[in-house]
Amino acid sequence: MKDTIQALEEALQNEKRAREKAEELLLHRTSELLELREALKVKTREYDMFFDNILDAFIVINPSTGNVIKMNDAAVKLFGYDIKKEPFNLVNIIYKDDFAYAMNSFAQLIQDGTFPNYEARVYTKDKQVKWVQVNSSLIYNEEGQIVGAQGIVRDITESKENAVNFEEQREQLAAIVDNSTLGIVLAQDRKIIKTNKAFEQLIQYSEEELLGLPIESLSFEDGHEESRGLYKQMVDKEIDHYSLQERYRRKDGTSFLSKTNVTGVRDGNGKIKYQLAFVEDITAKHKRRVMLDTLNNLTRSFIGKLTIHDIAWEIANVAAHDLEFEDCVVYLVNKEEKVLEQIAAYGAKVDENKQIVNKIYIPFGKGIVGHVAETGKPELIQDTSKDNRYVVDDKRRLSELAVPIIINDEVIGVIDSENSSKNFFTKEHLRLLVNVANLVSIQLTNANNLERRIAAESENKELLENLKRSNKELRDFAHIVSHDLKSPLRSINALISWFQEDYEHVLDAEAVETFDKLNNKLEQMDALIDGILRYSSVNDKNILAVQKVHIEEVLEEIKTILYIPEHIQFIYPDNLPTINADKTRIKQLFQNLISNAINYIDKEEGKIEVKFTELKTYWKFSISDNGVGISEAYHDKIFKIFQTLDKKGKSTGIGLSIVKKIIELYNGTISLESKEGKGTTFFFKLKK
C-alpha cells in the first residue's frame, strides 16, 4: 500500500508538477497577454491622443457604407454631428451639386488609396453649407483588406468666400471704371497705359489708339506749362495730386474743356509709378457758368442805364464778349418809319470810335431781323444758306440768332448775332438771349417809369412854380388892373361933375337924371372892381393873421358899418365863441352874409338871426333871414364868382365867392336851406 500510496504520491507529485508547469506556462502566457494588452492600451491611447489632438477635423468611415466610425472633437464641431450620440453618414451631407464630384473622388480614393485636396461643399447639421478641403487615405488590415477610410477635413468656407469677394470686388471695380462718366486714364511716365470707356468716348479714340500716347498730345498747348509744373511738384513729392482745367482735342478736331484731377501712385520708395487722371468734360457746366455770368454782368451793367441806346451798347459788348460771339447788333424799332435801326454793335460792325460801320435800316418783315420784329418770336437759324430770308449785312455768315425785345406786347428792338460757322448757336444761347431781352425789357420799363417820374416831378415842380408865379401875377394883375380901371372911373366922375357945373344953367331935369344914372353905373363898376380886389386877396397868406377873434365883437362892428334898416331885427345869441383866425377875413365873412340878408329882405318885418353850436372839431354857425329865398336850382351857382341873381341892384356876384373862399381857408364848409318867398339859412363850419 505503501507503494501505492507512494506511487500515488509520486503520481500526485508529478501531476502537481505538471500542473504547476502548466500553470507556470499559463501564467507566463497570461502575463504576455497582459503585457500585450497593456501595450495595445498604450497604443490605442496614443492613437486617441493623436486623434484628439489634431486641430483639424479627422474622421474614419466605413468605406462600404459611408458611416462615420470615428471622429474627433474638431470634426464634431465642424459637422455638428456626434457619433457618440447619433449615426452619421457622410453620403447624406454631400452638397447636392457636388455629389458627382464626390462619388468620382471616392472611386479615385478606392483605386489609388489616397485622394488629396478634395474640395467640395457639405451640409452641416444645422443646414449650413460649408466648403471643406479633405485629404484622405484608406486603412488596410494585415491581410491587406480595406477596413476604413480616414480623412483630415479642413473648413475652407471663409477663404472660399474671400476668394469670391476678391473676384467680385475686382468685377465691381472694373464696372465702376468702365461705367464711370468721368474719363479715367492710367499713365506711366505720362504715357497712357490704360483708359476707360468714358474717356475713349470723350476723346473719340479707341483704347488701342491711345495706348502709349503721351498725355500731352491730346490736350491744347496753352495748358501744358501749368500741367508740367504741377507734375514736377508731384514728382518732387511736394504734392500727391493736382487739379487743372485744360482743353482736349477730339479725333474729329472739335474740343472740350475738362477739369482733370491727377493722382500719383507711388512705389515702395515713394517714386511716382503711375499717374491716375480723372477727366471731366465741363464744357456744358462752363457754358452754363459763362451764361450765368453774362446775365449777372449785364444786370450789373444795366444799373443806371436809362435809355435803350446805352443798354444796347452794354448788350453788344458784354454779351458778345462774354459769350464769344463774333458779331452782335442791336436794332431799335422805328414805328413811324416801320424800319429797324442799328443802334449798337459788336465785332466787324463797329469802328474804333464806337461808331457803327455802314449803318443799315431794315424794313419790317425783311430779313430774319425784320421777321422777328414782326412776329415777336425769336429765331435760331442753324444754316442761313438754307433760309432765303437772310440779308447780307457786312458779310455772309452761316448761322444766326435773333431775339426780340418786347415791352408791353410790343417789339421795341431786336438783338441779333451771326456766326461764320453753321450750327454755332445752341438752345442755351437762345435761352440766354431771350433772358437778356427780358432783362432789357424790365430795365427799360423801370427806366421809363423812372424817367416819367422824374419828368412828372420836375413838371410838378414847374407847375408849382408856375402856380406860385401866376398867383402872384394874378394878385399884381388884380391890383394893377383895378387901379387902372378905377382911375378912369374917377376921371369920368370928375369930368361929369365939371360938365354939370359948367352947363348947370342949360341942363334940364332929364339930363340931370341921365347924369345920375351914369354915376350909378360908375359906382356899380367901382364896387365890382373892389370886389375883385378883395376876392383876389383872400388867399394872400402874407396878410393872414392868427389872432383871437370875438365873434360878438365882430357882429357889433358890422352893425355899425352896415346900414340895418329899422324894420329889420338883427338877433344873435350870447354864447358866441372866441376863435383863432384873421379878424379881417372873419368880418368879411359875416359882413357879406349879413349884408346879403339885408339886401334881400322884402318883408315888412325883417329878421336876421345868427346861431351858433360848438362841435368837436368845428365851430358851426348859421345865418338866417326871412327874405326872398333862393331857388334850389341856384344853390351851387351862387358861390361862383360873378354869379348874381339880381342884375339890377348893387350886387356884384362876388360876395358869396369871397365867403366860400374864406370858409375854405379855414377848412370849413358852407351849405344853405332856402324856400322861395320864405327866406334863406346859410350854415357854415370853421375848423377849430
Partner: protein, 136 residues
C-alpha cells in the same frame, strides 16, 4: 402957414386938373409944382431952387413909380425931411406897408366921387396949414 407949396406928382392930367380945380374951388392959393413922374419930380427937387413944403404923389406912374421915387427921396440928406403923402386908388396892403416903411406922412385913397375927393383934399390941406413945416 398961409401959403404952402405943394409938389403934385401925377401922370394923369385929369387928376392934376382935379387937384388944381379942387384947391381953386376951396379958395386956396397955395403954390402947386407939377411933375409927371418920379424922375421929373427928382429933377425939380435936385435943382433946390424951389423946394415944396409938402409932396403929394401917386403910386402907379410910368418910368419911376411912386415907391421908387420915395426911396430916392429918403436917401437924400435934405430932401428926406419933406413930408410925402400918397394919393392913390390902390389900397394894396403891400404898397401901404412899404410906403409907411419908407416914411410917408399920409396915405390917401382917391374916392370915386369928385365931391368926396374935394372933401378929402380940403382936410389934407387944412391939416398941413396948421402944421409947422420945414422952410428951406
Amino acid at each position: 402957414m398961409e401959403n404952402l407949396s405943394f409938389l403934385f406928382i401925377e401922370d394923369d392930367e385929369i387928376e392934376v386938373l382935379k387937384f388944381k380945380k379942387s384947391l381953386k374951388k376951396l379958395g386956396f392959393t397955395h403954390k402947386i409944382l407939377e411933375a409927371k413922374n418920379g424922375e421929373e419930380a427928382l429933377d425939380i427937387l435936385k435943382k433946390k431952387q424951389e423946394l415944396p413944403n409938402v409932396i403929394l404923389l401917386d403910386l402907379n406912374m410910368p418910368k419911376m413909380n411912386g415907391l421908387e421915387f420915395l426911396k430916392e427921396l429918403k436917401e437924400d440928406p435934405h430932401l428926406r425931411y419933406i413930408p410925402a403923402i400918397i394919393v392913390t386908388t390902390s389900397n394894396n396892403h403891400q404898397d401901404m406897408l412899404e410906403s409907411y416903411n419908407l416914411g410917408i406922412a399920409g396915405y390917401i385913397i382917391k374916392p370915386l366921387r369928385y365931391e368926396d375927393y374935394i372933401k378929402k383934399i380940403q382936410r389934407v390941406v387944412d391939416y398941413w396949414m396948421v402944421n409947422e413945416v420945414i422952410e428951406f
